[in-house]
C-alpha cells in the first residue's frame, strides 16, 4: 500500500509522478477553459481568430502603410505582423494566466488537493490550442496574398511555438507566488506586457533593429528573451530570412534559467499559500 508522509517543510519526492496521475485534471481544466470561453457566443471559436486578425490589420496599416516600415525578408507586412502576434500573444497570455493561477483558482485550491501545477498547465494548454487555430489562419493569409512560404522549414513553426510558450509558462509560475498576498502584479502585468511587445520584434522587423542599432544597444535588445523566440518563429514562416543564432541561444538560456527558478519558487509557495489568501 502506498504511504503518504506529510511533514513540515517535507520534500515530496513523488511530485511529478503525482502530477502525471492528475493529467486527467489538467486536460479537464483545458477543456473547461476552451468550452466556457466561447459559450453563448454566435461565432464561438471564431473569436480566437478575430482578435489577432483585427490587431494585425491595425498594426499593418499603422506600421506598414502609414509609417512605411519595411517587412522581414520581402514578405507582406500583414504576414510578418501576424506571425509576430501569434508568438507574442501566446507568450503574454500564458504568462498572465499562469501568474494569476493562485488567485483565479483559490476557491478550488482551498478545498481540494491536487498538484497545483496542474491548474496553470491545463489553462495554458487551452491558450496553446488557440494559437494553433490562429496559425491555421496564417495559411489562409498565404493564399490571399499569394506569398510563397519556405515550405522546407514550415513544419518547424510548431516546435518554435514552444519558445514563447515555455518562456511565458515558467516566467508566469515564477511570478505567481508574488500575486498571493498582494494583487498589484496582476494589475501591472498588462502594462508591462504592452511595453514588452514594442521592445520585441512583433510589429516591426528585426532587421530594423539590427541595422538601426549597433553595439551595446543591439545586444541589450537581443537579451530580451522574446527577441529570439519571435525571430525563430518568423524564420520558420518567412523565406529570405537568416536564422539569427545568438538571439535563439539567448532565448534557450532564459528557458534553462526559468525552469528551475520557476519550479522551485512555485513549489515552495504552493505548500501553504492556502493559509495566506
Amino acid at each position: 500500500m502506498q504511504k503518504i508522509i506529510i511533514e513540515a517543510g517535507g520534500k515530496n519526492t513523488r511530485y511529478f509522478r503525482d502530477l502525471w496521475n492528475y493529467r486527467t485534471l489538467a486536460f479537464n481544466f483545458a477543456k473547461r477553459d476552451i468550452t466556457v470561453r466561447y459559450k453563448q457566443t454566435a461565432i464561438g471559436i471564431g473569436w480566437a481568430l478575430i482578435g489577432p486578425l483585427l490587431n494585425m490589420a491595425v498594426m499593418s496599416f499603422i506600421f506598414g502603410k502609414l509609417a512605411g516600415l519595411p517587412a522581414d525578408g520581402g514578405a507582406p507586412y500583414s504576414i510578418m505582423v501576424y506571425s509576430g502576434l501569434i508568438a507574442w500573444n501566446l507568450f503574454a497570455r500564458t504568462l498572465t494566466v499562469s501568474a494569476a493561477t493562485f488567485s483565479s483558482n483559490a476557491d478550488l485550491m482551498k478545498k481540494v488537493y491536487f498538484p497545483r501545477l496542474a491548474a496553470p498547465l491545463g489553462q495554458t494548454a487551452a491558450i496553446l490550442a488557440d494559437s494553433l487555430i490562429s496559425l491555421l489562419l496564417l495559411f489562409l493569409l498565404y493564399a490571399i496574398t499569394g506569398y510563397k512560404p519556405p515550405y522546407s522549414r514550415l513544419i518547424f513553426c510548431l516546435p518554435a511555438l514552444l519558445l514563447p510558450f515555455l518562456l511565458g509558462f515558467f516566467a508566469g509560475i515564477f511570478l505567481a507566488p508574488s500575486t498571493i498576498r498582494r494583487r498589484d502584479l496582476n494589475h501591472a502585468l498588462p502594462f508591462l506586457l504592452q511595453v514588452g511587445q514594442y521592445l520585441s520584434p512583433v510589429v516591426y522587423s528585426f532587421s530594423l533593429i539590427s541595422t538601426g542599432f549597433s553595439g551595446k544597444a543591439f545586444w541589450l535588445y537581443t537579451l530580451n528573451p522574446m527577441t529570439g523566440a519571435i525571430n525563430t518563429f518568423k524564420w520558420c514562416l518567412i523565406g529570405d530570412l537568416d536564422f539569427h543564432l545568438p538571439s535563439f541561444l539567448i532565448s534557450l538560456a532564459w528557458i534553462g534559467l526559468l525552469i528551475p527558478l520557476g519550479l522551485s519558487r512555485f513549489r515552495k509557495a504552493e505548500k501553504d499559500f492556502v493559509d495566506l489568501v
Binding site: 500500500m1 502506498q2 504511504k3 503518504i4 508522509i5 506529510i6 511533514e7 513540515a8 517543510g9 517535507g10 496521475n21 492528475y22 486527467t24 485534471l25 486536460f27 479537464n28 477543456k31 473547461r32 468550452t35 466556457v36 459559450k39 453563448q40 476557491d107 478550488l108 485550491m109 482551498k110 478545498k111 481540494v112 488537493y113 491536487f114 505548500k271 501553504d272 492556502v274 493559509d275
Partner: protein, 401 residues
C-alpha cells in the same frame, strides 16, 4: 480493533497561523503578526475500519485538522503518515462551473477529486442515476435548481473509491429523502473495512456514522472515546464555560452586513439564580451604540441548541430610537420556561422593518452568548429530555377537563 493496521498516524502536529496584530501603516509597510495555534501537539492514531467523528466548537481546529490530512495545507511541525488512498469531501460541488453542462461537470469534478477518465467513463451511468437528474444532465448547471446541483455534486463525490474518506459538514444541504440516500451511500462505501473521518455539528449524524469520537477544544484533543460518552463530554464541557459577561465588539458578523449599530456587550444579571434553577426568567442588559441616527430599532434573540439546531426566537418589537453616537443600555428579560434543559446558544439581530415586511439589519451576531437551562431537580427522573426526538421546546402541560 487494536490488531488492525494503523492507517492514519499523526505525531506531534502543530498548525500555526500568523494573525495580523496591527493595521499596516503605509502601502509597503508590513503589518505586525502574532502566532496563533489552530492545532497544538496533536497525536492521533486511527486504525483501518474505524469510523471517527470529530466535534468541537467553531474555531476548535476541526477543519484545520481535516485540511492537513487532505494535504490542502501542511503542518507547521510534526509528522502525519497516511496509508492508503484518501479522499476528502470538504465541500461538494467544488469546481463546478455554472456554464458547463451536468455531464461536463461530472468529468471536471471527477478529475478534480482525482479520478481518471476511464474511471469516470465507467461510473458515469451510476453517477447520473444516483443524482436523479434525468434528461437535465446535458443542460448547463446554471439552470439547475439548488437541489439538483447538490445532488449531482454529491453523486460525483460519493462514487470515489477511497480507503479513507474524509467528510466535512457535507450534509448541510439537500432534502430529507436525499440526505437519507446519501447516508445509505456512505454506509455502502464504508463496507469492506474503509475508514472514515467526519466533522459535523450535527450530533445525530455523528451518532449514525461514527463509533469513535474525538473532541477538539482550542486546538487540542480533550476527549477521545466512544460516541455517546464523547458527545456527553462535549455538552458538559460547553456548559462549564458559561459566563455572565459577553464582549460583543469582536464577535463575528456576516461579511455582507452594513453595520449601522454596534452591540457592544451583554451581561446576564441573574446568572447564579438562573443557573441554580431558582429563576426561569433570564434577565440581561445589552449595551448598544448607534453609528447613525436610527429609529424604530427592534431586537431579535435567536436561540439554538448547542448542536446547532434551531430552537426558536424572542423579540423586542417596541422600537427604540437611538441618536448617532449614543450608547443605550437596555434591560430585558426572557422567559425560558418552555425550553428543555440543556445548553443553548443565542444570536442577536438589531433591525427595523417597515409595513411591507422588508427588514434592514443594523447589526447581526450569529453566536452572541450562551446559557444553560439546568435540569429541574424536582422533575420526574424517568423522563430524559430527548432533544433529538422531541425538539427543544416544551409546549406545556396537557390539561384534563
Amino acid at each position: 480493533m487494536t490488531d488492525k493496521a494503523c492507517v492514519i498516524d499523526i505525531k506531534a502536529v502543530d498548525k500555526k497561523y500568523k494573525i495580523k496584530k496591527s493595521k499596516k501603516k503605509g502601502p509597503f509597510k508590513r503589518p505586525l503578526y502574532e502566532d496563533f495555534y489552530a492545532l497544538k501537539n496533536i497525536n492521533l492514531k486511527i486504525r483501518q475500519g474505524e469510523r471517527v467523528g470529530i466535534i468541537g466548537k467553531n474555531g476548535a481546529g476541526k477543519s484545520t485538522l481535516l485540511k492537513l490530512l487532505a494535504r490542502i495545507t501542511e503542518p507547521s511541525s510534526g509528522r502525519i503518515e497516511i496509508g492508503g488512498k484518501l479522499s476528502a469531501m470538504l465541500e461538494v460541488g467544488t469546481g463546478f462551473n455554472a456554464e458547463l453542462t451536468g455531464r461536463e461537470n461530472v468529468y471536471l469534478n471527477g478529475a478534480i477529486l482525482g479520478m481518471k477518465k476511464s474511471e469516470i467513463d465507467r461510473k458515469f451511468d451510476q453517477i447520473a442515476d444516483f443524482s436523479e437528474i434525468g434528461p437535465f444532465i446535458d443542460m448547463p448547471v446554471k439552470r439547475y435548481s439548488s437541489g439538483m446541483y447538490v445532488r449531482l455534486a454529491f453523486a460525483v463525490a460519493s462514487h470515489l473509491e477511497p480507503d479513507i474518506l474524509i467528510l466535512d459538514e457535507v450534509f448541510a444541504v439537500g432534502d430529507q429523502k436525499f440526505r437519507q440516500k446519501c447516508l445509505d451511500r456512505i454506509n455502502e462505501i464504508l463496507q469492506g473495512d474503509k475508514t472514515i473521518l467526519c466533522v459535523s455539528h450535527q450530533m445525530d449524524l455523528i451518532r449514525e456514522l461514527c463509533d469513535r469520537v474525538i473532541v477538539l477544544d482550542r486546538g487540542k484533543i480533550v476527549y477521545d472515546g466512544d460516541t455517546e460518552s464523547a458527545i456527553e463530554f462535549y455538552g458538559k464541557n460547553q456548559t462549564q464555560n458559561s459566563k455572565a459577561f459577553f464582549d460583543l465588539t469582536e464577535a463575528a458578523r456576516p461579511s455582507f452586513l452594513r453595520q449601522k449599530a454596534l452591540m457592544e456587550s451583554l451581561e446576564i444579571k441573574n446568572r447564579n439564580e438562573f443557573m441554580g434553577g431558582k429563576d426561569n426568567i433570564l434577565s440581561f442588559e445589552i449595551s448598544l451604540k448607534a453609528l447613525e441616527d436610527l429609529a424604530d430599532v427592534k431586537l431579535r434573540l435567536m436561540v439554538r441548541y448547542y448542536d446547532d439546531t434551531k430552537a426558536g426566537f424572542a423579540q423586542l418589537s417596541r422600537g427604540l430610537n437611538i441618536k448617532e453616537g449614543q450608547t443605550v443600555k437596555q434591560n430585558l428579560t426572557f422567559d425560558t420556561s418552555s425550553l428543555f434543559p440543556g445548553k443553548y446558544i443565542a444570536g442577536l439581530a438589531l433591525f427595523s422593518s417597515d409595513s411591507t415586511g422588508k427588514a434592514e439589519h443594523f447589526d447581526y451576531i450569529r453566536e452572541a452568548f450562551s446559557f444553560e437551562i439546568p435540569e429541574d431537580g424536582q422533575a420526574d427522573k424517568s423522563i430524559s429530555y430527548s432533544h433529538r426526538d422531541w425538539g427543544h421546546v416544551f409546549l406545556g402541560e396537557l390539561e384534563s377537563r
